[in-house]
Symmetry: C2
Subunit: 360 residues, 2 copies
């Protein structure tokens, strides 16, 4: 059942972050079923997220060596007695958190606020350890609520696209739906990372008629245009706002997707949105990020969004990934084996890669 895995059944390899720029692949205990609702998933692909870099860069302090990684797809190896929707052998997509799928918030479509919500790599609500995603196997609490199984095993070419549903594509989509993007909308996307690029895909998919990508990197501009951006604006700050407004009759776009999380990017998004428009934001707010409430008030620009309930969005996006109608897997421009995870972080940190896919 452990397939190609060559480590002993008592240990596996997983990524541990020890401190700034100190990421190591280590031997760690193999996960075990600990609750009836658990599943053990063998990771087929994981990746490095922009938010992982916060600890890597020392922006968020690391109290002790910690498991890391929160995006993965894989194959179910074992399930607890309480699991009914999954079977060993199922190929599954994991959102970047786990959730029970049945609480009041899950029923409202906000599984990120699940009353049993937990993050990969940290203890669950019952205090039991949960593995990080950048490893060979993961114990998944509340597996029925957390994992999305595919009806058949995917081709290898589909793996990057499916993995993007774990976080970045679901998050770009969340920005777009939170902003209220629909047929004919005009949209500005602030941020040209993987999430911003997926925001372009999402806006196009939802019918936006005009999509401005704000980017100063030629490779990302090119990808944004291939994904559906109709315009590229390189300027930032006041010049960027002026350039965007000029594209939209002097007043700005109907919607902005804020995919960075800094004070400056939020300002950029709000100022680029026309009066009465809406900003969909998914950039994790950095320290010092704030909202210019006076500007929002007098221009009736709303702000909606937050941490994306990926679990709730996967069902809508999955058919388009499987059919190839959208190709968010293209944001992975570098692929490395898991034992080169340290190199993956460095490539992301130095912006040599948009997003790195890891194969255990």
């Amino acid at each position: 059942m452990l397939g190609a895995c060559t480590t002993s059944v008592d240990s596996m390899r997983a990524t541990v972050i020890h401190g700034p720029r100190d990421v190591r692949l280590e031997e760690v205990p193999d996960p075990a079923l600990r609750a009836d609702g658990d599943a053990i998933v063998r990771v087929v692909a994981a990746c490095v997220c922009g938010s992982d870099l916060w600890r890597y860069r020392g922006v968020v302090p690391i109290a002790r060596p910690s498991r890391i990684g929160h995006e993965f797809v894989g194959v179910v190896e074992r399930v607890g007695t309480g699991v009914s929707a999954l079977r060993p052998g199922d190929f599954v997509i994991a959102p970047f958190y786990h959730c029970d799928g049945v609480c009041a918030n899950c029923r409202n479509g906000v599984s990120t606020s699940c009353l049993r919500h937990g993050w990969w790599g940290a203890p669950d609500v019952d205090g039991l350890p949960v593995d990080g995603a950048q490893g060979e196997r993961v114990r998944v609490p509340d597996a029925d609520g957390t994992l999305v199984p595919l009806s058949e095993p995917p081709s290898d070419a589909l793996i990057p696209g499916l993995l993007s549903l774990s976080d970045v594509m679901a998050t770009g989509h969340h920005a777009a739906v939170s902003a209220g993007v629909g047929p004919g909308s005009t949209v500005v996307v602030v941020g040209d990372g993987a999430v911003g690029l997926c925001g372009v895909i999402a806006a196009k998919r939802l019918g936006a008629s005009r999509i401005v990508a704000m980017s100063r990197h030629e490779d990302r501009q090119r990808l944004a245009v291939e994904f559906g951006a109709t315009d590229v604006v390189e300027q930032r700050g006041g010049e960027g706002v002026a350039a965007v407004r000029e594209l939209f009759g002097g007043i700005g776009a109907d919607h902005a997707l804020e995919c960075v999380g800094t004070k400056e990017s939020m300002e950029q998004a709000i100022q680029s949105t026309r009066p009465g428009g809406m900003v969909g934001y998914v950039g994790m707010p950095a320290a010092g990020a704030e909202l210019p409430i006076q500007r929002m008030f007098y221009s009736n620009v709303g702000v909606n969004g937050g941490v994306a309930p990926a679990r709730d969005h996967i069902a809508e996006l999955l058919p388009d990934v499987l059919s190839g109608a959208i190709q968010p897997g293209r944001v992975f421009d570098v692929e490395l084996p898991l034992d080169r995870v340290s190199e993956a972080y460095a490539a992301m940190d130095e912006r040599r890669a948009i997003k790195v896919l890891l194969r255990p």
Copy 2:
């Protein structure tokens, strides 16, 4: 054509604020038509707004004696050669600002961001003086875009309700639509002033199934319940949040209407809203008001609204006021003649009145 007005045609009486707690009715020049799009309106009823108290209380400094008042209904006396939608004798409702009705923002339904937008009592975009509303007559720039005429003169009993459309009822409605209130919604209303009470009316009108009024004043609680509130919460701060959440399965209401504008009231609204819900805010943000972006991000609570485009909402609300289906005029609990305007401010300031109607 000047009807019952007994002052000379060269002067009229209007309210001037000289400093904190110094409001006087004075003889001022009679307004004249100054642009082709102008109308001169004889004020039938005006009122004092909570926001007028900011200058009255010295919170907002007063550089020089200034005309004041921004809510009125009246009868058109004269129109400029460029006015086509109005005729002398028309009974009209004025929103709390003037707008041209044809610019890009007006066409988007955000007339508060009109490119020719202006406030009553301050120079218009062309630098010409505009009268405040607490007076006998007002020069209305861009009259076709600004004023909403009735098809026939209203009964005297309807005057308070029609006047409420000038600001407070339109603003309460804006909070509700900005929050996305619809059939079956659960709603918390923060603020029991005239706008908050109108927010209760608006939520009920839009089909909310449960409406919590947060109020510590018995008379306002009673009015809120008569307007459609199903529950009253007297506590504030953390206790208020806990009480509201308890009413809604521990997670909070679908929507909150923020009708105050302080840091505390915004916090109250956001914390009372369930994950994935939306706050509609119309309270003018006071100095120090801010948005708790981290809380918003992790709970996916959005914030939408701002200064209400009353001109755009009047058409929807007017039939229900005329039919008596909604009775927002009941927020006027004191009525005084214009020459007792100083007393009107004092009654509002001391919270002896919810809202004072003034008759010139």
